[in-house]
Every structure is written in C-alpha cells, then in structure tokens.
C-alpha cells in the first residue's frame, strides 16, 4: 500500500530523509503566482488537533518548475504535485505545464483549501478543465465540509478524475484563552489532527461506495491502526499529515504498525483489507 505525505505537511528539500520514508512525495500546493501566505499567527494547537491558516504559501509555478529536477534528485521517489488556483483555467494551465514532465508521477488538485477567500468553481468543472490539459493521473482532493461528499466524488469521477484524496482540513476556530480573540490572525483555519479521523473515515466510506476510484485516505492518522481503518473504509493509499509535525519518524513507525495490524487480523496485504468495513462476507477479527 502506498504511504504518502499530505500536501503542505512536508518540505522535501529541507527534510529529504523524511520525504524518502514515504512511497511518494506530495508537494505543497502550487499556484500560478508566488504567495507569501497569510500573516502570522498561522497555527494553533487545540485539545484534539491543530488549526492552520498558512494560506497556500508557495514559490509560484514558474520557480517550482525550475526546481522540479532538483526535487526529483533529492526525493528519489515519485512526486505528486498539488495544484491550486483561483479559477478552472488557472488549474488547467498548471496541469498543462506539468504534462509531459517526467519528474511528475501524478497531480493532486487541491479543490478545497479552507484558507483562501476566493470562491472556486465547482470541483467537477475544475477537474474537467484539467483533464483536457494533461494525461497525468489526476487526484481530486475534496473537502469533507459538504452535505454529500459522495455526490462530489461522482461528479469529479464523471469529469475525468483518476482518483480521490480524502480529506482536506475542515474549517475551525480557536480563541486565545486570555483575550478571547481568535488565536490565528486570519480568524479561522483548517482543522487537522486526531479529531479529523472520524470525518475522514466517513468521507472515505461514502466515496468508496459511490465510485470505483482509488482513494488516498488522510485525516488524523497517527498509528498503523488508524491507517488500517482508512483502508478498511475503502482507501487504497494513506497519507500522513499533522503526525509528521510531531514525529518525523512517523512514516517508518506507521508502516511497521500497519504490517502488524494486518497480520494480527490474518490479512496478507493492505489490498486484502481494503473496503472490508463495507463487506458482510469478510470477518476481520484480531487473532
């Protein structure tokens, strides 16, 4: 099973050995123009997770494309490029520029950043525009903050997506205990960490029933058992996010724990365990 990092949770050029502990490296979201990101304070810990309002800080696609060969040299594993934008056309332009770049294994469309103001076009419209712009595999990263994420999943599948990344952070707010003002300068931010896991599980579970697409499950994975739960709900790959901040050795640890959790239930591979939460014919009791 592929183990990835969640976009925006790792800089491979600063911590290459952490990146290489994954099966593929997902970049921070790249936008057409450079972005410094939001004014600090940008992060806040909460009781069961953290909020971030980084605001898609990135060097812009021109500089990113220049550094891509060096990134490949450093990470030595497949690179997934997370693409962002403020219109379907912007997304598609970046996809077109990535098309044919042999450093790129896959594209993840960030359709759900909670930290920017511009209202995006619908996920399916963006996917359709990108589909026309590249032959690279397209993963649509969806927000769980919608009435029916499965409906969005069906729509992006119909628009030509090759896979789903579930889930992005969900909007949250924390207040400073002394001043009772928002801790983050921007006000709200994207909520991640352990509290996100049930939300991610629900989204993966719903989308795995609704589409045949491969799913990268993410949200609150801290242990091998967390990863296995996402697989059982229907994920075919798992990504690590907030846990990397607390523990850069997490990929190796979680991979080992996942192996042990699978064997304890008599599975030979994660593939065998995929979707068992949806199946009445498989009984996965711990031996």
């Amino acid at each position: 099973m592929l183990l990835l990092n969640a976009s925006g949770c790792l800089d491979a050029l600063v911590a290459p050995h952490v990146a290489r502990a994954h099966d593929a490296f997902v970049t921070k979201t790249i936008t057409p123009l450079p972005r410094g990101g939001n004014a600090p304070v940008r992060i806040a810990e909460t009781e069961h997770g953290m909020l971030n309002a980084i605001g898609l800080a990135n060097p812009g696609r021109d500089l990113f494309l220049q550094t891509l060969p060096r990134l490949q040299e450093v990470v030595q594993i497949p690179i997934w490029v997370s693409v962002g934008g403020f219109s379907a056309e912007e997304y598609a332009e970046t996809c077109h520029l990535l098309d044919g770049r042999d450093e790129v294994a896959s594209i993840e469309l960030n359709l759900s950043c909670p930290n920017v103001d511009e209202a995006p076009e619908s996920a399916a419209e963006i996917v359709a525009a990108c589909r026309a712009a590249t032959e690279l595999p397209l993963y649509a990263k969806l927000s769980p903050a919608t009435w029916d994420v499965a409906e969005t999943a069906r729509a992006v599948e119909a628009a030509g997506a090759d896979g789903l990344s579930l889930v992005n952070t969900i909007r949250g707010l924390s207040l400073d205990e002394r001043t009772l003002r928002p801790t983050l300068e921007r006000g709200s931010g994207g909520y991640s960490g352990p509290a996100l896991k049930p939300i991610a599980l629900a989204a993966v579970y719903a989308c795995a029933r609704a589409t045949a697409l491969p799913i990268v499950g993410m949200g609150g994975v801290y242990s091998g058992l967390d990863a296995l739960e996402l697989v059982a709900a229907g994920a075919s790959a798992v990504a690590l996010g907030t846990v990397l901040f607390a523990d850069p050795d997490a990929p190796t640890r979680i991979r080992a724990e996942l192996g042990a959790e699978l064997s304890a239930r008599g599975f030979d591979s994660a593939h065998e365990a995929r979707g068992v939460a949806q199946r009445a014919d498989v009984h996965a009791n711990v031996r």
Binding site: A15, P40, V41, I54, F245
Partner: protein, 219 residues
C-alpha cells in the same frame, strides 16, 4: 536532526520557571540558540525550546508555564520520558570579539549555554519582577535589572550583542546595536520546515523562522 525518547533527570523550580534536565542520549546538544522540539505529554504538538544548559550527558531546558503545552512540560517528573527532536535551526555565531549577552525574561533561556562556551562574558538580564529574576541565579555574573528599568538602559556600548527576549526588547536592542544577533520566537508545529507555521517577516518576505533562524543577524 534526530528524535529520541529521553528520560527526565530533574525538574527544578527557578522563580516562575522550571529547569527540566533530560539525559541527552544519542542527541547532539548543537550550538547555543539552536532548539529542540519537546513532546508535551497529552498534547497534539511538541514545543520548541532552546537549550539552556548542556553539561556532559544532559540537556537542560528553562520553561515558562504559559499555556497547556508548557504547563505539561513543567509538570514532568524525574524518571518520566519524552520524545525530543533536534538540534534544529541556526544558533548564535560565537566567533565574536567582544560578546555581550542580553536576555529578557524567559528569553534568557539560551544564554547560560552561550555563556559557558564563551567563558562568562558580560551579561545583562532584565525581568519583570524579583520573582522572575530568581532565574538570574543560572548566570551569577550577570547584571540584573528589573522593570521599570530595561536591559537597554544597562547595555554597555561597543560590544557584539547576542540577545534573546520578547519582541519589543529585541527591537530596542537592535536600535542600539544594529549588528546584534537576535534570537526570535514564533509558534511552531514541527520545528523542521514542514508546517510553514512559524513564518516571520525577514527582509520584507515571510520566511520560516525554524529554517532561517531562530537566531537572525539584525538587518
């Protein structure tokens, strides 16, 4: 950078602060001004702390219990163990001719380590109260001022300043000593460049303090 589970050796109250000593295990203490991410028991994220003391085999951290993470750290008891990651970031350059150490409040944390390596150079420490100033016992040769007197009123001129303290203090020090090396602070989730949370404005751009700093030469 390396991450290891380190045993707490002692937890000593120093004024309002706690001096936590851990066995340093396989970790290198790094240079003064560099920092480590300390697992805060029961919290989601670790906390960045500069090394206060680095006697053989140990790392000492001076911690002000100002929030849930630092309170959890200050409640550690000898024999407990926490994960520690580091050393991280860029510390102070020590190849200076006439060092002067300037610290404000909990910002004095990295200075005892600097002082040990530089042979106890002149030092000025400022605190908000007599109680807070008890921490100056870690640097017995330091000149101590207490509010309403500020460190900038006690700083001799003509030195290479290495300073750490609250932002207004660092700005005031910088105004007096434009070439000062200043250790800054920002909330950090990871400490190793992954989260982009600790952005500060450096040269008109937002940059990650954990990668560029935390010690920055004054511009």
């Amino acid at each position: 950078m390396k991450r290891a589970l380190l045993k707490v050796v002692s937890n000593e109250q120093v004024g309002p602060y706690s001096l936590i000593r851990v066995e340093c295990g396989a970790l290198d203490p790094g240079c003064p001004g560099q920092f480590f991410m300390l697992e805060a028991p029961g919290r989601v994220l670790p906390r960045p702390m500069s090394v206060c003391l680095a006697p053989p085999g140990e790392l000492g951290f001076l911690i002000d219990p100002i929030g849930p993470g630092t309170r959890a750290l200050c409640a550690l008891e000898p024999g407990e163990a926490i994960h520690v990651l580091g050393p991280l970031g860029h510390g102070f350059r020590l190849d200076v001719e006439r060092p002067l150490l300037v610290g404000g409040g909990i910002g004095m944390a990295p200075l005892p380590f600097v002082s040990d390596l530089l042979g106890s150079p002149p030092t000025v420490l400022g605190f908000r109260s007599e109680w807070h100033a008890e921490a100056a016992a870690l640097m017995p040769h330091a000149e101590v001022v207490i509010e309403p007197t500020y460190v900038t009123e006690a700083m001799p001129s003509g030195h290479d300043v290495l300073a750490c303290g609250p932002e207004p203090m660092l700005e005031a020090v910088q105004a007096l000593a434009p070439d000062a090396q200043l250790a800054w602070e920002a909330p950090m989730a990871c400490g190793y460049g992954a989260c982009y949370g600790c952005a500060v404005e450096i040269g008109g751009e937002l940059k990650r303090l954990c990668v560029e700093g935390p010690v920055l030469a004054a511009a």
